[in-house]
Amino acid sequence: MMYKIARENLSALFRKIAEQQELYLPVRRAGQVNFGVWSEEAVVDLDTLKSVKSPKDVFFPQSENLYTVQKEGRKLNVCPQDLQEKDFVVFGMRSCDVQGLCVLDRVFLSEPVDTYYAARREHGAIVALACHEPEESCFCKVFGIDCANPGALPETAEGTGAENKKGGADVAAWLIGEELYWKAQTEKGEKLTEALKGILTDTGETEEQQKLAGEKVAREQAAIRAIVEQLPYSHLSLDGWNGAALNEKFNSPLWEELYKPCLACGTCTFVCPTCQCYDIKDYDTGHGVQRYRCWDSCMYSDFTMMAHGNNRTSQMQRFRQRFMHKLVYFPANNDGMYSCVGCGRCVEKCPASLNIVKVIKKFQEEKQKAQAAEMAGGDQL
């Protein structure tokens, strides 16, 4: 059953949602759009395609407390951190970001389950928004993600069973012209829709009306897909990138060249919707110690630093690690699921204009060269 709401009523909708539960959505702050909590003052921005940071930190915060140790004289009391108990809504996630969550689920929901993350996933309802105007840095299509059909599951992830259900969005939405179309996809979604009926106007009881609405959405989807076809990266070939390619890729001399401009900053990892590495640190508050975790980056010199030093001593190794993980290690361990969703944030944000696309292309290029050379060699025989 499809619902809709006029653009100008969206704030009413948000207010309504916020009455019962916390609402996260794209908010413009000091010139940048990131997911934040809705408030009357918040400047909601649904037209900017990509938030700077992916919405992953709604579920996997950049920094979160794990537990606190209180000191009483010489006695130490461990006070666990409360888990997420209240329901909340994330509005305006894009298909790629939703798929990003599937990747995080693979990591955090498989045994041993990360209870902090699991609690948030359980209580969070996702309203995914179709990408009205995709941009040149997007390449979600490469990973079988359909940004016109928000929150639907990519074909590539088919056959990987039930847990994928978790991956989908609870509500799919399309912002077409002055109207937002709303379609629940899961029970959670139905429940949310139920609660909002007063504001969401149904698109009509009759099949005819439903059909019209469906067509309108279908037209929008067609338009979006048409644009996606034109995007420069949409036809990127992942040929040769899979779990099996481990040694060949790992030992490739190309890395030496590719990593050179890398500044070893964490931008790519921190804007990425699928990077899931974190560090656990202690903070002495003077009256106790807070053990917290915060995002870490495999690009950092002290990533996985151990007493004897670091297992990756050069930036080349750190650089290689990130792409090997996204394109080889992860699919190898997750039924072929890549841990890149083609959101293109790293493409836009890398200070040295490096990115995963350039890496994929470079390897492709070399492969073609090699083949060409082989051909030539063959002729001589």
Binding site: T285, G286, Q290
Partner: protein, 146 residues
Amino acid sequence: MPMKDEFKPKIVAFCCNWCSYAGADLAGSSRLTYPADVKIIRVPCSCRVNPMFILRAFEKGADGVILCGCHPGDCHYSTGNYYARRRMTLLFSMLDYLGVENGRTRVEWVSAAEGVKFSQTMNEFVEKIHSLGKNVRLEDLRCRKE
């Protein structure tokens, strides 16, 4: 001098070993009182005080930080306080720029002979901090006691 309000400020005073720490000792042996809120950290020279120490103090909830050293020209190491002077001027200016009340930081040159000046300075400073109230702008919320 007892303060009216209940607010007990945390105040860190960095004192150079040769002049100001001795000045504080003189204040002590002369029984020149100043509020107990002031806690002195002894450093060899005012030029040993890293801006990070001062920011650290504020992060951990200090309400005021004061740096005392030998008078310019009298530095035991001859030039240390000149460097300290530039560093602190720039640091204080930056804090002011960030919207931190500039009365929370202070530099005072106190010689070993100036016990009186030391206690006066501390009394003034504590009063100033009382007028500014709690440091909320630079404190790390995790350090706040509920």
